[in-house]
């Protein structure tokens, strides 16, 4: 009897509930996975994913980075994450100076104040790490940098959540998700027009002032739709990712209390713990690329013109790359293999330094606030989203 073939359906309950079991089987049995149902390929081994992330000449971003987009006829809107060089480099250079590790230190005080603010409001006997803490604070930081007025910053988070949600079995937007994407787009478009009339010291105003070299070689400005798209992307990428990273970490530490104790005993290990959190259960599980030419791997040909899932979360748990890959160990040797939690190469996370700063401060404050805690396991609820994974609810009680 042959064993049943592994099935990777990125929109199924089985996948949302336990992706890592599926990844292990894909790595062993189907390193070049092909889905007949959806007509896509998927790479899961660390060496393959890392190589593909570097090879933008084969694995292009121009058709989008989720399956529905890559397979759609009209292609995605113009956005930095849907570009290859040289266009990508031009746009990235408009914002990357604000996100270097040194530049991001200017956000430390803001992050500390926000973390303390939200933590001071929770009920230690019963609070939801996601909804009461790791959801509200990161969106405030990034939207403030972007230039979104205070009264709209939490709204941005709800728009993102709703627009990324996928019903099991459905690869595209939900009806509410479509509406959220439209509302959010309209809001940013209006904000771009306001800032054009009345510039402020924020990212959206800097994008309005910037000049880039257009396709015809002539200098040009970004239009309001491009600016709205860019700002909306920053808000999304910079908010729900840290939300999920911190939420998943609280669950992981509850399952590995000796690792939490190691942090309580030695706070200097927090940055290393953040890297391990990102490797072990990072928020971004995959990005989809589109093959511009045939790719040969493991005796299989991925033909040109196909969507390919690059499974970073699988790669980060690949036993071929990491010793005891399925063990959460904040002391692990980080030079064994590249952590792909922030991606790799030209599209690697622009906000990595900000995410590290926010998560480090969040973990430090949680160590003070809940040196001992328990998770209400029955109340845990995972998100059903595309590209990202994590929890929607993580109910916690602080033990005294």
């Amino acid at each position: 009897m042959t064993k049943p073939q592994v099935v990777f359906d990125p929109f199924s309950d089985a996948y949302f509930n336990d992706p890592y079991e599926i990844y292990l089987r894909m790595q062993d049995d189907a390193p070049v996975y092909y889905s007949e149902e959806f007509d896509f390929y998927a790479l899961t081994r660390h060496a393959d994913v890392a190589a593909a992330l570097k090879d933008h000449e084969t694995y292009s971003s121009t058709r989008g980075c989720d399956l529905a987009m890559v397979q759609s006829e009209e292609g995605p809107q113009k956005s930095i994450i849907f570009m290859d060089p040289p266009e990508h480099r031009v746009l990235r250079s408009l914002v990357n100076k604000a996100f270097t590790p040194r530049a991001i230190q200017s956000q430390r005080e803001t992050v500390e104040q926000l973390v303390d603010h939200y933590l001071a409001q929770v009920d230690p006997d019963n609070f939801d790490v996601i909804q009461d803490f790791s959801g509200p604070f990161p969106v405030e930081v990034i939207t403030r940098m972007a230039g979104v007025p205070e009264e709209y910053r939490q709204q941005v988070r709800h728009w993102i959540d709703t627009s990324l949600t996928r019903e099991p079995g459905n690869i595209g937007y939900t009806e509410a998700g479509m509406q959220a994407a439209i509302d959010s787009g309209m809001y940013y478009y209006k904000l771009a027009q306001e800032r054009r009339a009345n510039p402020q010291d924020d990212m959206i105003s800097r994008l309005i002032a910037a000049e880039i070299v257009g396709e015809d070689g002539q200098p040009r400005k970004l239009d309001d739709i491009e600016i709205a798209g860019f700002t909306s992307l920053l808000g999304g990428a910079g908010a729900e990712t840290v939300t999920k990273l911190v939420g998943s970490a609280v669950v992981t530490f509850a399952k590995n209390p000796e690792q939490w104790q190691m942090l309580l005993d030695d706070r200097s290990k927090v940055p290393a713990a953040v890297e391990e959190m990102l490797r072990f259960d990072g928020p971004v599980h995959y990005n989809v690329r589109f093959t511009l030419k045939d790719a040969q791997l493991h005796g299989t040909t991925i033909p040109a013109g196909k969507p390919v899932f690059l499974m970073k979360a699988a790669a980060n748990r690949d036993p071929r790359a990491f010793t005891d890959a399925h063990v959460f160990n904040i002391d692990r040797d980080r030079t064994e293999a590249q952590n792909l939690g922030f991606g790799y190469g030209i599209h690697s996370c622009l906000g990595a330094a900000l995410a590290r700063l926010e998560t480090t401060i969040a973990v430090e404050r949680l160590l003070d606030f809940m040196p001992r805690y328990e998770v209400n396991w029955d109340g845990l609820e995972k998100v059903h989203m595309q590209n990202v994974a994590g929890y929607h609810h993580v109910p916690v009680k602080v033990l005294r």
């Binding site: 570097k54 990357n96 270097t100 590790p101 040194r102 030079t335 590249q338 790799y344 030209i346 990595a352």
Partner: protein
């Protein structure tokens, strides 16, 4: 082998990982610009430089090999 370090400054975003691995070779100044203090790859520093090449999240560093 011998070789030269090449940095693509259009890709570099001053993450400073390379400086963390081998500060004798890579240095970020106060303005966040990366300086290659010595671009020669030697038997002594080769292993660390290759590590910096691999770990650069932007894949901005390469070694131009001369035979």
């Amino acid at each position: 082998m011998t070789g030269k370090i090449v940095v693509d400054f259009g890709l570099c975003e001053s993450n400073g990982i390379c400086m963390g691995i081998i500060p004798e070779v890579f240095d970020l100044d106060d303005e966040d610009y990366l300086h290659v203090l010595s671009d020669d790859v030697t038997p002594e520093n080769e292993q660390q430089i290759r590590e910096a090449v691999r770990q650069c999240p932007r894949q901005a560093i390469s070694i131009e090999e001369s035979s």
